[in-house]
């Protein structure tokens, strides 16, 4: 339950609705406990003799009280449940803000589905604690106290007798609660077994079909399904008894009141009206007792969910602003000084399964402003990782990455990243218009700027063919772009912000060589003016670069320009030969 403590600051932000709502709750409950008193007076007056107009008065009194109660109940709900929605809003904001601060390594560790379920289910469960979780217990306490006080005022003897069953109720709730909780956990386990089986079955569907294992799989599923069924029935047996039992025990109180209280009326220790009022109070106590178990459940779930939320809310971003605020603009001289890197998370990139493998080892490299440097090498040689260190998607494990002679870790992220346009391998577009996607980094860009960027990325003719031109929506609610179109859109996005440093990570892999050449020609004007890091599998892409670095196993094994590397007849030359062969093959 201590997990829920961290909700207090959130609730404290809304003192007014909370206090007023609570006051409304008290007043509403105060009004409702008066009603039996009116009944008592009416019944007693009826036994003693009364006028019709007085009866009408009692009737109006009941309606009047109900109106007051209704008024306060309205505000109680509106304000108290309202607060829970306010806090939910704040929690959602904090959650999202936290996600925005987390670095790529966080997203490697956490699956999207997991984060999504926290953002929806867990926030929902926590909200329940604040809304119904506050209102119902408060109601319960007030009603219980109020009803019992009035019952005592009528007769302490009858109160004791009628409430003799109360300990039984609380014992029942406690005992049943423990068993229910346990059986519920079993059900959850069985449920995840089923879920795992289905998951495995679907991911292995081809094997299942190839070996005609459908029936065998069905049998296996049948077993799990059956075991889930029986664990559910185990809960049903308890659950089925729980509420009827509660109702019976509480009903027993009424029977006792009828039997004992009736005698008291006959003995004239209480009036008949008081007996009727007593019934009314007992009736009032029914719902809170039944709600008790439900509220406990809300708190248990809420605490578990809060714990899961806290895991995200307390996650510290690995990559934070550097302290040096003196630099405002960067020229784009990049230096790697003895850089080594390993991915720390278990699910490291580039196929490193043990996580400890070094992806980069002792890389030294200087790139002058305006230079175009290309990185080639096999998959997993460390090309991508090297470029990722510049905009600080990751920080070097050892050594330093410097921009304009300053360690990137000392710079504010804003300063650093506004100087770097990085186009990652996976071209990601938002479900917005193509225009908004291109102008993503500079929403204020003019139409001319957007069109120029599109032209440079070789996307302009494609856009002209889209149904709504630049306003065409992309993604789920719009058109689906081809891989090549997506890549070019992401290039346009980067080119538009005109950064001093441009990093293109294998961004032309989905376009054919001809289109590639055309785009490179268009881009050459852009590239000449800025420091460019170019990662590619294709020799044709990197041929023109000022400097080509060949990476192998995390080290720069060859460096030079196209001609000098060919002359060296090493890895680059062999890559070149293979590529010529591939091109030949493609032409056949």
């Amino acid at each position: 339950m201590k997990e829920l403590k961290r909700l207090l600051p959130y609730v404290r932000r809304y003192p007014r609705p909370m206090i007023v709502g609570m006051a409304a709750l008290v007043l509403a409950k105060a009004a409702s406990v008066i009603v039996p008193l009116v009944l008592e007076r009416t019944v007693d007056d009826l036994t003693l003799g009364v006028t019709v107009s007085k009866l009408a008065l009692y009737g109006s009194l009941i309606v009047g009280i109900a109106a007051v109660e209704g008024f306060f109940r309205f505000w109680m709900r509106k304000l108290l449940i309202g607060v829970s929605r306010f806090v939910e809003f704040d929690l959602r904001n904090d959650f999202f803000a936290r996600l925005q601060r987390m670095s790529p390594s966080f997203y490697q560790e956490w699956r999207t589905g997991d984060l999504m379920s926290r953002a929806s289910n867990d926030i929902g469960a926590v909200r329940m604690v604040l809304g119904p979780g506050i209102m119902y217990p408060a109601e319960t306490v007030l009603i219980t106290l109020g009803a019992i006080a009035f019952m005592l005022a009528i007769s302490w003897e009858l109160t004791l007798v009628s409430l003799a069953v109360m300990p039984v109720v609380s014992i029942a709730v406690k005992e049943f609660g423990a068993v229910i909780h346990k059986r519920f956990e079993t059900i959850q386990e069985k449920m995840s077994d089923i879920s795992a089986l289905v998951h495995e079955n679907i991911s292995g569907m081809r094997v299942v079909k190839a070996y005609a294992q459908e029936d065998a799989q069905r049998r296996k599923f049948e077993q799990e399904n059956e075991s889930y069924l029986w664990s559910n029935m185990g809960l049903v047996k308890i659950w089925g008894a729980f509420y009827p039992l509660l109702a019976a025990i509480i009903g027993l109180g009424s029977a006792v009141v009828l039997w004992w209280g009736g005698r008291m009326v006959v003995r004239q220790e209480i009036t008949l009206g008081q007996l009727v009022a007593f019934f009314a109070y007992l009736e009032m106590l029914t719902w809170p007792m039944i709600a008790f178990g439900w509220v406990v459940n809300i708190y248990q779930r809420g605490a578990a969910s809060m714990k899961r939320l806290a895991a995200i809310l307390d996650a510290g971003p690995e990559i934070v602003d550097g302290p040096d605020a003196t630099v405002s603009a960067l020229n784009g001289r990049i230096e790697f000084r003895g850089v080594s890197f390993r991915y720390t998370s278990a699910s490291g990139d580039g196929g490193a399964t043990n996580g400890a493998a070094e992806v980069l080892s002792d890389v030294d490299l200087v790139i002058e402003p305006g230079q175009t440097v290309a990185f080639v090498g096999r998959t997993g040689s460390g090309k991508t990782t090297l470029t990722r260190l510049v905009p600080r998607l990751y920080d070097a494990t050892e050594g330093q990455v410097l921009v304009d002679g300053r360690d990137v870790r000392t710079l504010p992220l804003e300063t650093l990243r506004s100087a770097v346009a990085y186009v990652p391998q996976e071209s990601f577009l938002f479900s917005e218009s193509i225009r908004d996607n291109i102008a993503f980094g500079k929403p204020s860009a003019s139409d001319a700027e957007v069109e120029q960027a599109a032209k440079r990325a070789g996307l302009d003719t494609d856009i002209a063919s889209f149904p709504n031109g630049y306003q065409t929506m992309v993604g789920e609610r719009g058109i689906t772009l081809s891989g090549g179109q997506r890549q070019r859109a992401t290039i346009a996005r980067a080119v538009l912000i005109e950064p001093p440093i441009l990093i293109l990570d294998d961004v032309l892999s989905s376009v054919d060589t001809e289109t590639e050449e055309r785009i490179l020609n268009e881009l050459s004007g852009v590239l000449r003016k800025r420091t460019t890091l170019l990662v590619s599998h294709r020799i044709s892409t990197v041929k023109q670069a000022d400097l080509i670095c060949v990476l192998d196993d995390g080290r720069i094994v060859e460096r030079g320009n196209h001609e000098s590397l060919l002359a060296e007849d090493g890895l680059y030359a062999s890559l070149h030969r293979k590529q010529l062969l591939e091109e030949e093959l493609n032409r056949i």
Partner: protein, 601 residues
Amino acid sequence: MNAPFHEEEALGKIYDRRLMRRLLAYLGPYKLTVVFSLLLVIAASALKLVGPYLTKVAIDDYITQGNVEGLDLVALLYVLALVLQFAISFFQVYLMNKAGQRVMFDMRRGIFAHLQRLQPAFFDKNPVGRLVTRVTTDVDALNELFTSGVVTIFGDIFMLLGIMVVLVYLDWGLALVTFTVLPALFAVTLIFKRRVREVYRKVRTRVAMLNAFIQENIVGMQVVQLFRQEPRKFAQYEDLNRQHQDANLESVFQYALFYPAIEFLGAVAIALILWYGGWQILVGGLTLGGLVAFIQYSEKFFRPISDLSEKFNILQGAMASSERIFKLLDTEVTVASPAFAPGASARQAERGSIRFESVWFAYRNEEWVLEDLDLEVRPGETVAVVGHTGAGKTTLTSLLLRFYDVQRGRVLVDGVDVREWNLQDLRRQFGMVLQDVHLFSGTIASNIRLGDREITDREVAEAAAAVHLDGFVAGLPRGLEEEVKERGSSLSAGQKQLVSFARALVHDPRILILDEATSSVDTHTEILIREALERLLENRTSLVIAHRLSTIQKADRIVVMHKGRVREVGNHQELLARRGIYYRLYQLQYKDQEIAVRNPY
């Protein structure tokens, strides 16, 4: 991974007759249980009416008469009614839950069975996670509908009617006066229902929008951060969040209005009873006990109505879930066995032959992966298929096993079109080893045997030995019975391959399809795999998508695929001499292996 929340957007119906009818059909097999449960509900509801009446009797006949002894009997009856009510309720809840759980069991079984029938093309389009949800969460959402929804509503309706009958019986005049609140009650409930439906739809849409936004931002977070658009995206998010909050506050408002309104009408009813009933007592038309009973009945009358909102929630959830479930169940099975498939014995003539005749195939539209492809594998022959990435090699295996159907041309196995085979019979002809080895949870032995219960432990052990898995298995504490953890993460890539070899071997197929893995393994394992491969290819028709030079060289024929067609056929030396596609492929892909093999250390 694309927006699993998206599809929920459009669903907002509280009640859909078509869906409901289909759902209720599932109760069919348990008709008797359901009917019995309904009868019990009626009995339980009737028993709930006993209490107030006994109170009336106690007041009128005993308490006001000063007859204390008679109270004992009344109290006893009261307790008896309670005990009966408890017993009946328990039994009813148990029965109904049993039926409900059975229904869900059947549904899960039905969904799973349907999934087994669906073609791979379906799984290409639908993320695993979403399908798992259908079997688990969505089915569970129906739980409440079957267990508390349907039956409780029935019980509630019966109780409302029962109360009305009893009231009329007690005093029809007072009953009529009390009933004057009913029109208002219906009006309030109807208005509430309509409003809450609109608000509910709004909430659902906004939740979907919010979730889709979060999802998109999680996936694209790196881009947001690199372009420093966090503040802008946050502002957009906050706007959606606020819309979501507003919709919810609207729903809070509706509920905040509904509950007090119902309570108020209840109070009006009681006021009417006090006024008119009291008057009748004065006149002598009603007893005091009757008045008390009236009050207690009217309290019981209003409870189910204010519970209505809860019932709405149950219905809404169930409708949304069942719509998704039925949508899955309605997905057409496009690859199925023909209505009449001749038995395997009819094909003795051409055992173990494969033929592709002018096959055209595309996964999407007209993007042809295979264009007019012809290929034949004769019984007992080993054919190696080679080609550059994207040549369409793997597609061949998918067509043979009829994972997909060709658009034009024919694929023949044993001289019979695969579309005329019984699917299971067809697939039983093949042993298939895929590039990515899929291991099921269970033991190594169960992964070799799969579901075939006729395969003995001894055969499993022999197969394991034949593919050189025995050395590795011997080192495990429980040998072949060792658990495979988390889909084989405890096994190396090479070991997994050997397990899949053993799997194919033990099933002793007439035709072997092997898609060689490209992942590199250490030299020792490489040698084991090669020897195991030889053993596997012995004495059967084999089609190998080859990546190993050694495999290619041992094949009877090499078929070179290029851009969806067979371009060259021959043996290694012939093809090299031709200096065509194979020659280039060899230099590109296999030549390095030759060097590596010559100097394994």
